[in-house]
């Protein structure tokens, strides 16, 4: 089954075009692993890149370019044959599809989780200036009060679920927010929730009180 909530089109397009930064790309690619619909869409968009390449105005290379390329092949030998897929089972990192699994690199329990607030822990996976990507886990029924944003916020659910603005997000779903939105969230009561969270800029808070309770502000 495909997810119910997806990254917006501009993210999928930027991912296919190659202009999306690494942190956002990791979140999008992980969603693609969990959402066959977006995977197909992403392949269609990548095909636009192929069509553009075919119609690209050629810029001639130097006279020796092909000779030089062929002589480099001498050092290469024959192209490697297709690797045999490794025999892997879902069990060990079942919650984390590729490419996220490789970025996390170890089992969830052995990560350096840091407490962000009561019932909320996080670990930073990528920190690229403005964009910060974290794994976040939240205890059942945890609530985050109403808050606004000064940039984009993107949350991919990996396990469990939460409710936000009367919508329920579960594994594979992406919740998007930008500077125009003010919302609150509540984790499902029946189990903890594991998410991948992308923040482009620190959250803007609706009130001073928010500063004390909004966990995503802290590094």
């Amino acid at each position: 089954m495909s997810a119910a909530f997806h990254p917006s089109d501009d993210f999928l397009l930027a991912y296919a075009a190659g202009s999306l930064d690494e942190a956002a790309s990791l979140l999008v690619a992980t969603h693609l692993a969990l959402c066959p619909l977006c995977r197909a869409e992403s392949e269609r968009l990548e095909t636009i890149g192929g069509v553009l390449l075919e119609h690209q105005e050629p810029v001639p290379l130097g006279d020796e370019a092909l000779t030089s390329a062929l002589s480099r092949l001498d050092g290469e030998g024959a192209p490697p044959s297709r690797p045999v897929p490794s025999i892997r089972t879902k069990a060990k990192f079942a919650l984390l599809p590729e490419p996220l699994r490789t970025y996390v690199g170890q089992e969830l329990e052995s990560l350096a989780w840091r407490r962000m607030a009561k019932g909320i822990e996080g670990v930073v996976l990528l920190d690229r200036g403005a964009a910060r990507l974290r794994l976040v886990r939240l205890a059942p029924s945890v609530r985050i009060r109403r808050h606004g944003h000064s940039g984009r916020e993107m949350t991919l659910v990996l396990d469990g679920g939460f409710k936000q603005d009367d919508k329920r997000y579960t594994r594979g779903d992406v919740a998007m927010a930008d500077e125009t939105m003010v919302h609150a969230m509540e984790v499902d009561a029946d189990g903890p929730c594991l998410c991948l969270s992308l923040l482009d800029a620190p959250l803007k808070l609706t009130g001073l009180v928010g500063l004390l309770v909004n966990p995503f502000l802290r590094k």
Binding site: V51, A69, A94, E98
Partner: protein
């Protein structure tokens, strides 16, 4: 579309290029590689120049990309993508790692954790064989304004702001135009949103 040259477009040329790639993968065929090189290296160079690389840098990276074509030929799956799309992805990823010094996170098609859609009708919704000709035709049917924002997205590192500057329209206009263009494109491709 950006400056077509008329040298490609016939399906037979595309089929020939696919056959060449297969010969590279299976036999390490250098002549087949040379055919691919003559066709794609100048286009990759053009693509990189258009994204802002200087002549020398673009040439060096086009060479590098073609070396990757040789090394990875066996990974090409004609059931999944057109040759041009596969080579576009190689060049795009090379540029990301070289110039931005960033990783390019991608799914692993053999990952057992990959979620497969097995519900009725899934085949049509998620068919993976992407037909370049169909995509080209869909692009051609977008309005010029919509086509511009979609194609320019492939030639800018900061697409929205750069496109806004280039077209001389507000950022919000670029975003809404892009949304409409993507919806229109999806409708033309027969996808489900």
């Amino acid at each position: 579309m950006s400056g077509g040259t008329g040298s490609i477009g016939g399906e037979s040329v595309v089929d020939d290029l696919a056959a060449c790639l297969l010969r590279v993968a299976e036999h390490g065929d250098r002549e087949a590689f040379a055919v691919l090189f003559r066709h794609y290296a100048p286009r990759i160079k053009g693509y990189l120049c258009r994204l802002g690389s200087g002549e020398a840098e673009a040439e060096e990276m086009a060479q590098e990309a073609m070396l990757l074509v040789w090394r990875k030929a066996a990974l090409y799956d004609s059931a999944k993508a057109a040759v041009g799309t596969w080579i576009f992805a190689l060049a795009r990823n090379l540029r990301i790692s070289r110039l931005r010094r960033e990783g390019r996170p991608e799914i692993d098609p053999s990952d057992p954790a990959l979620v497969i859609d097995d519900s009725p009708g899934a085949e049509e919704r998620t068919a993976t064989r992407q037909d370049g000709e169909k995509v080209r035709a869909a692009l051609a049917r977008l309005s010029p304004e919509q086509r511009d924002v979609v194609t320019l997205s492939f030639y800018e590192d900061h697409p929205h702001s750069e496109i806004a500057r280039r077209l001389g329209v507000p950022l919000g206009t670029v975003k809404s135009r892009l949304r409409l263009a993507m919806k229109h494109f999806r409708d033309l491709m027969g996808g489900v949103s």
